[in-house]
Amino acid sequence: MRGKSGMKVIPASDSSLLIVLGSAISPELHARVIGLFRALRAKQDPRIRNLHPGYTSVLVDFDPLQISHHELTTVVEQSTSAVGSQDEYRSKVVSIPVCYDVELGPDLVDLANYAKTSPEEVIRLHSSATYLVHFLGFSPGFAYMGGLPEKLHMPRLATPRGHVAGGTVGIAGSQTGVYPVDSAGGWRLIGRTPWRMFDPNADPPTRLQPGDTVRFSAIDRASFGAMAQP
């Protein structure tokens, strides 16, 4: 384990390093995590097999027959010093169309009651905030986003639903997200996007990438039908 500018390099396994850059979630730390992730990705080093940002860390999975933990630590340190200030951090803005509707988002009214407000105000709050994609995980294309207005924080369902349709937008605690594919799920459902969030044959296969900025824009049922992707 070596330290540099508060960075901790932890050998997580015989073929990975966990680079921990801080201890609390913040936009500044997010920018550093994404900066390091992008700097390492840009190297296109065939010895690195996977790179995975988390809230405060980047996991580097590599082939130990081709590069040692020690050598890789040096590569990471060089990349860290190459990461510029937050001003240079560029984020792609993705505006996701969402039809907020009780048929597509059956918990919309429950969430409004819980927040002691109207469904219209839930929609206004959810579609006026700006969200950061911290990382993807859970299932292909599932983005963990920060930035949900506090008024909309609501615990997940006590019993998850057996089936949630792909594209459904939900809330769990302080998080909001879009189910990329049909799955089971315990989030509070408030609407659905007509977009396909994950397509294994597309390049890139997911709509969202770590580091993206996300906004949701409200659309009506007619637009939802017109924009629906098979």
Binding site: S13, S15, N50, H52, D61, F135, G137, S139, T206
Partner: protein, 309 residues
């Protein structure tokens, strides 16, 4: 001519050595649960070691061949026969035109790999032919095999079957111990937790599958219950959820998790994880990271040397 699936077995999927470079998009590595056996099966029929092959779990498939084809099994012995002749893991055999390969149940080990000369001809998705069942892509239509499926195969006439040296497989499969290094959150656990992990046996829950092996045994407790901020998970990480019963995250794992990782299976022993059966007991031995890498290098040298030149 494709190979016809008469019966699919318990859970059979097309796999290769896995899908890398996409975990940041939430995409698991997938690939063979026992990558070493898949490599051996492919090398036996003269394929590239990464060629798409069939992974069968606990109960094998029955396949019908319209054309003659050299095939090989590796991994768990599934009492396979072609006609009336037994097919042992570790040897290549010729299936005649109209022949039937019948694979049965596995008594030791959990997974058997079938390689066919030329390899199965399935589309490469994100750099790999591996089936991702959770994501529904890769392999044959992103799913397990069912009766009536037709498995397309590539032309394999230019490849040459190989033989293993006598006794080459003797030391490859162990079914009682798995070696681990300490994990990313090792500091969350005190010496008592490690003493329990390295001295008590754990049994494999029948809730285990390719996403993870759930272990049952002595409870492991972190020094204090605090919340870990979700981070990326290495293959083979052993995480400890609140109930203290560890879970080994496996080839179809979620790519992120929020539980502390006490240990990590070493790469040289990952194939053992793929061969563990429900209710089986296993013990964990600690090695250092340099030892783990030495063991991996030895395994690679062994594989290069295992075949008759």
């Amino acid at each position: 001519m494709p190979i016809r699936v008469k019966t699919p077995g318990m859970f059979s999927t097309i796999q290769d050595l896995g899908r890398y470079g996409y975990s940041h998009l939430g995409i698991s590595p997938a690939g063979a649960a026992d990558r070493l056996s898949l490599r051996i099966a492919n090398l036996l029929v003269g394929n590239q070691e990464n060629a798409p092959a069939l992974e069968m779990t606990l109960l094998g498939a029955t396949l019908e061949f319209d054309e003659p084809r050299i095939v090989a099994l590796a991994g768990a012995d599934c009492d396979a026969i072609v006609g009336t002749s037994a097919v042992r893991p570790g040897e290549a055999v010729a299936v005649p035109a109209g022949g039937m390969l019948k694979c049965g149940g596995m008594r030791t080990g959990a997974r058997s790999y079938l390689a066919v000369q030329g390899g199965f001809d399935v589309p490469v998705v994100m750099g790999s032919a591996a089936t991702d069942v959770r994501g529904g892509f890769g392999g044959l239509e992103g799913r397990r095999l069912k009766a009536g499926d037709l498995l397309p195969v590539r032309d394999g006439r230019s490849t040459r079957a190989r033989r293993l040296k006598p006794g080459a497989l003797d030391a490859v499969y162990r079914h009682d111990t798995v070696r681990v290094t300490r994990g990313a959150q090792q500091e969350w656990f005190g010496p008592e937790a490690f003493e329990v992990l390295f001295s008590c046996p754990y049994s494999i829950s029948d809730q285990s599958d390719r996403t993870g092996l759930r272990l049952k045994g002595e409870v492991l407790r972190p020094r204090e219950q605090s919340q870990l901020l979700t981070d990326g998970i290495p293959l083979g990480a052993m995480q400890v959820p609140q109930d203290g019963q560890p879970i080994i995250l496996f080839v179809d794992q979620q790519t992120t998790g929020g539980y502390p990782k006490i240990a990590n299976v070493i790469m040289a022993d990952m194939h053992h994880i793929g061969q563990l059966r429900p209710h089986q007991q296993v013990r964990f031995h600690e090695v250092s990271i340099p030892q783990a890498i030495t063991l991996l290098k030895e395994q690679e040298r062994w594989l290069q040397d295992a075949f008759v030149p």
